[in-house]
Every structure is written in structure tokens, then in C-alpha cells.
Symmetry: C2
Subunit: 338 residues, 2 copies
DNA sequence: ATTTTCGCCTAAACCGGTTTCGATGTTGAG
DNA sequence: CTCAACATCGAAACCGGTTTAGGCGAAAAT
């Protein structure tokens, strides 16, 4: 059914090798022949088959994307979806397709690394994965080029959102608005969380506020329910905070819900901030104060790093890209009188 | 680097063919030999390479996913993301990976069909695509098994959300709440839109309400801005509707915004409904009245249909699956006094 | 004892390309 | 006129599997 290199070679009256060389711009093919081959190929709709090419060259022009699908929401996760979307379009510009790497395929479970070899991916990008698992680090330390997002492995390229600075900026913003009792709700253990907590403490320190252990609360990312509970917990304190920084916008929605239930007006009675800058945050009343991550640039940068490592294995060094965040003032942090 | 069938055959002292056959459960391999092969494979971590297998068998265990990435938000589109997520996990259960099909890869543009052949996908699922384009229908009428979601091609399997019934149900709900001036805002031209408009008219007809052309407004899917404008347009009418049905939840958010700007309370002054049932709709005040589409089941069903066509090319017939929707009452449609 | 049948395994072709190496004809230098 | 250099092209090996056709020894049938 599909048209192969044989069809082209037959139609041109040339050998298969010559056609292949013409397509790969070998220097020992005359300009006319090359032209003839290309014209004929276009005529009969020939494209070299990726599978066959891969088998011989071991270059699939296929990149793996690894994320933890164990969590309830994989592709639905808005941060991940945005990064992925951008990563994907950059890859396509360079002629790469993408494939999801997982360990639940059909048979007896393959590991991530095995899945990568099974599909001959040229490289792999890891986002929102469980970076502490042995399976992930096995892949990270393998010979397969890889880039990580929001986590740094030794000697591997990575793209980091400036989480530390982001939270710092947010705390300062709250401080400038007159808040002194600023609580921080953090997500699950991860590099991101660690950086954000560090940012929180660093900001408090800078502003000469004494950290209180009851103002540091644990919750889950992307979970309104969990955010709801964290908010309740904080508001029940004998001395509740006047401003609460949530792990992300979705959990902030849970916090807003909790505030509403407690008959607390936002931001008059209590201030709340999110993180991520999802579109819907700006459609709320009050508009959500939040930190916008530049997901578009993160995905693009990751793709560029990865492709660079693949196409220039010698010269390419592992790079670390820091992508700046941006504070979106919104209206959910109120000005407090001194 | 990677371990191949040769390594297994060498270690077992068997020929390559025997190893291959042992792996593919050929009957002319003794139980002991088969056992030996499998054990050795497990020991040295061998998995048959998908690329090599595909080349010979023309079965890639790879499925294409086609969606229109021309729109601004591809993977970010919440309906699409949900369907895809479910489709993907069902595929993985059956040992299939997925690849995105597009026509922007590297070179001179391949068509969708060419991309499918280029990657040897076993089948392709089309969602949120431009079903009216020649390129898409070329693929749909090719010999590659395919399944569509929310659009029916002749003689091809498809999964349809019950859009007609969904809208009908929504109109009836509004009617039962006392509304008589019910406007319908629809999205871009597509089967979905056509079905929904039909559902709208059919419901009006059933309820003996006379349709008014000024109550049928055009907007865009997934666009708060567009929803905002549509809402303004409707509210400026000399005789504005008391209830507005929006194309989806996101555009409903735009409509809510417009209402707020016009100092209209929802639902006291005007009622608004969405479509899709996104999580955030239920976190608003008032909670959004909407129709929940069973995206999970849609994705799963599509995968099952597609895999069935692939694995049983003889017996499989094109099937049409209708996935029921569910009304989520919410609070954004008010009871109106007769 | 000879032939048939069977059970088990291997050799080799093949999938659709890429790439090495050599063949051929042409040209330029000596 | 001879020989080297160059420009073009093709034959064949190869990538890692699958699959067909056939080989070989042992058991069963004649």
C-alpha cells in the first residue's frame, strides 16, 4: 500500500542506494539526479519510512515524555498540559514526534528505561515525575539523553522555574500590603516544594518576621479538597494568619471555598494567594493573586536543550535554564492597615 | 548497549529463530526450550525491539491521535485532555503506545495520512479535529483503521456524546424552572454544534416555545472572551432572554463576567448554563448548571473500538457508540415565578 | 528393516531503509 | 598516450527482529 524507496528507484531507473543518498544529501550524487529523485518522490508521494530508517541509524526522531501517571490527573493537570503542549510544538518544529513513556504497557511491566529502548526514543523529557524513585533515576543516569523540568539531576540538562524567587516575591508582596502573619501551605515532597519552602523562609528572614511552625502546613498539589482542609486548619488556630499562600491555584480554590464556609470575606477578612496563574484565576471575584509560571517557555527550553544534546552529543554540555516567574497582583491579597 | 535477540540466542545456545519463536508462542518449540528462553531473557533484561518487529510485521503497537493543533489551545483544552487521558490509559492496557499525528513535522509538510504511514501507526483516533478538511477525510477513507469522536464518517467507528439529548435536557430543565425566554449560544461549525442546535430547536418545539432568531447566537468554544461578547449581545436585546445556554463552561465564565459587569446577578437577574462539567464549575458561586460529558467513557470506548478494528479486521464492523450525558443542576439557573 | 510421521530446531529470506566500498567512465596532468 | 584523480553510481552488508521452508533424529507404522 505504502510507497517505498523501491518504487522511486524503479521509476527513476536508479538503484536504491542512489535514491537513498539523494534523499540524504550525499555529495556523490549529481545535482540532476538528486533533482530527479526528489521530483519523482513528490510525484508518487514517497516519504522514507521512519521505522526502517530508525532500525539502521538508531535515530527515531521520537522523544519520550515521562510523567507520573500514578496520580489521579495526568494529562488533565493544567501545569503539565501547558508545558507539554509547548514542548511538543517545539519538537515538531525540529522534526521530532513524541511518545509517552510509562511502565504499564501490556505485558509484564517494563521499566521506564526498558520502554525507552523498546521504542528507540532519541531522548526523554521528564516532568511531574517521581524523581526520587529508583526507576526514574535509573533512566536519568542511563546513556539516553534526557532533560528534566523542575528537578536537577547531576550532569543532566534541566529547566527550572524560579520557585524560590517566586515565593519570595509573593511573601514580599504580602508584606508590602501590610501583612505580618503570612502562612504557607506546601504540596508534596519534591524539589519544587523544597525550593518554595526555602523561598518562604528566606523571605521571612529578610523581612525580619519570625517563622512559626503552625503557619507551615502540608497539603497536596492540584487538590481543592486538600486546600480546603489546609485552610480550615489554619483558620482554627488561636492566632490565624491574615494571609495564606497556597501550593497552586486549584488548591487556592479550595481555600476560597473554606473561607466562604467560615463566612470570611476574601480579601477583606483573610487574604489568599495561589500559584501557577491559570486562566480561571483571573475570572474569579476577587481575581486571584498568584505567581504565573512561564510554562510556554519552560516546555520550549526543555525541547531545545534535549534536541541539542541529541544532535551535538560531543559539544553539548548539561545546561540549567532558570525561567523567571511573574507576579499577578489580582485582588485576593488586601491592603492591611498598619 | 541495548540487549538484542542475539544475546539471548548466544546465551541459550539456540538459534535466533528459535528464540523469536519461543517469544511468540509458536507450537513447534518445546516447553523446556521456551522456558529457558524466557528465563534467560528475564535474566539479561531482553525485550524485543518494537522498531525491528514493526518493520517485518507492519504492526507497530502504536496508535495515532489526531487533533487540530491549529487552535490556540491543544492539549490544554480540558475536554480534549480528559478524553485523551482516558484513551491513552485504555490503550496502554492493551500494549499500545500513542503518537500525535500532525502535519507540521520538520520538512516540507506531510499530510496527516503520510505522517501515519511514516510512523506506521496501526490505527488513528480523531478528536477535536477539523473533520471537514480534505486532509482529515483522506485519512478517514484510507485503509488505516480509525475511530472518530463526536463526528461520524461513513463506515467508520465513532463515539458520540449525546449532544442532542444533552441540550434538550438542559432546555427542559430551564423550562421546568419557569423560563420561557431561553437563548442558545453555539460554538463553531461542527457535528457537535449541529447536534446541539438541533437539540435546542427540538426542545423548543416540544415545549411549544417559538424559536427566535435573535436568541441563537454564535460564539467560539472554550473562549471566555467570546462568551463574554455573546452575553453582552444578548443582554442588549430589547427583550433579553432570562436564561442563556453557553457552548461550554469556559465560555460560560465569560458570560458570568459580562453579567457581573452589567450588574446583573446570577441567577437572580439572569440564568446561565454551561456545558462539559469541568471541575471548577462546581467551585463557583453560584455553582454552574451544566451538562457533564462522560469523557472518561468516551476515551475508553474509542480505544476499544479502534483496537477491535485493528485486531479483528475481518469480523469488526464499524460501530457507533453513544455516550450519555448527565445534567448537573448547580445553582446558576433560577426558579422563575410563572 | 524400511518408510512415515512427528517433534523440534535452524538457515535464510525478508521488512525498508542506510552506508561502506568498489566499479566505471571521464577528465586532467605529465 | 598513459596514468592518476575525480565524479557518479551500484552491490551488498547491515539494523533486529519474523516467518517460511526444510533438516534431522527418534518414534511409530508398515
Amino acid at each position: 500500500m505504502a510507497v517505498t524507496i523501491k518504487d522511486v528507484s524503479a521509476k527513476c531507473g536508479l538503484s536504491i542506494s542512489t535514491v537513498s543518498k539523494a534523499f540524504n544529501n550525499y555529495s556523490d550524487i549529481s545535482a540532476e539526479t538528486r533533482e530527479l529523485v526528489h521530483r519523482t518522490a513528490r510525484e508518487i508521494g514517497y516519504y522514507p519510512n521512519a521505522i526502517a530508517r530508525t532500525l539502521k541509524t538508531n535515530r527515531s526522531y521520537n522523544l519520550g515524555v515521562l510523567y507520573s501517571d500514578d496520580g489521579q490527573n495526568g494529562l488533565t493537570h493544567s501545569f503539565f498540559a501547558q508545558v507539554l503542549d509547548s514542548f511538543k510544538s517545539e519538537c515538531e518544529k525540529h522534526g521530532y514526534d513524541i511518545t509517552f513513556i510509562n511502565h504499564n504497557v501490556g505485558w509484564t511491566g517494563m521499566t521506564y528505561l526498558e520502554h525507552c529502548r523498546y521504542r528507540n526514543v532519541d531522548g526523554v523529557c521528564m516532568v511531574c515525575a517521581d524523581f526520587y524513585s529508583t526507576e526514574v533515576s535509573e533512566l536519568a543516569t542511563s546513556d539516553i539523553p534526557c532533560v528534566t523540568i523542575d528537578h536537577a539531576f547531576n550532569n543532566r540538562s534541566c529547566v527550572m522555574s524560579e520557585n524560590l524567587q517566586g515565593v519570595q516575591q509573593l511573601v514580599r508582596y504580602a508584606y508590602d500590603k501590610g501583612h505580618r502573619k503570612i502562612a504557607f501551605v506546601h504540596g508534596q515532597r519534591s524539589s519544587v516544594t523544597e525550593n518554595r519552602i526555602t523561598g518562604y523562609y528566606r523571605a521571612l528572614n529578610e523581612l525580619e518576621l519570625t517563622p512559626r511552625s503552625d503557619y507551615l502546613v502540608s497539603a497536596l498539589y492540584d487538590s481543592p479538597t486538600s486546600g480546603y482542609q489546609a485552610m480550615l486548619q489554619l483558620m482554627k488556630l488561636p492566632e490565624p494568619p491574615t494571609c495564606v499562600l497556597m501550593p497552586d491555584d486549584h488548591s487556592a480554590l479550595g481555600a476560597l471555598e473554606a473561607a466562604a464556609e467560615l463566612k470570611l470575606r476574601v480579601p477583606e477578612d483573610v487574604s489568599i494567594a495561589g500559584y501557577d496563574g491559570i486562566r480561571l484565576g483571573q475570572m474569579l471575584h476577587p481575581k486571584l493573586t498568584t505567581i504565573k509560571q512561564d510554562t510556554k517557555r519552560m516546555g520550549m527550553q526543555a525541547a531545545l536543550y534535549l534536541i541539542d544534546r541529541i544532535e551535538n552529543p560531543r559539544t553539548a554540555v548539561s545546561e540549567v535554564g532558570c525561567i523567571p516567574t511573574k507576579l499577578i497582583p489580582g485582588e485576593s491579597i488586601a491592603q492591611v492597615k498598619g
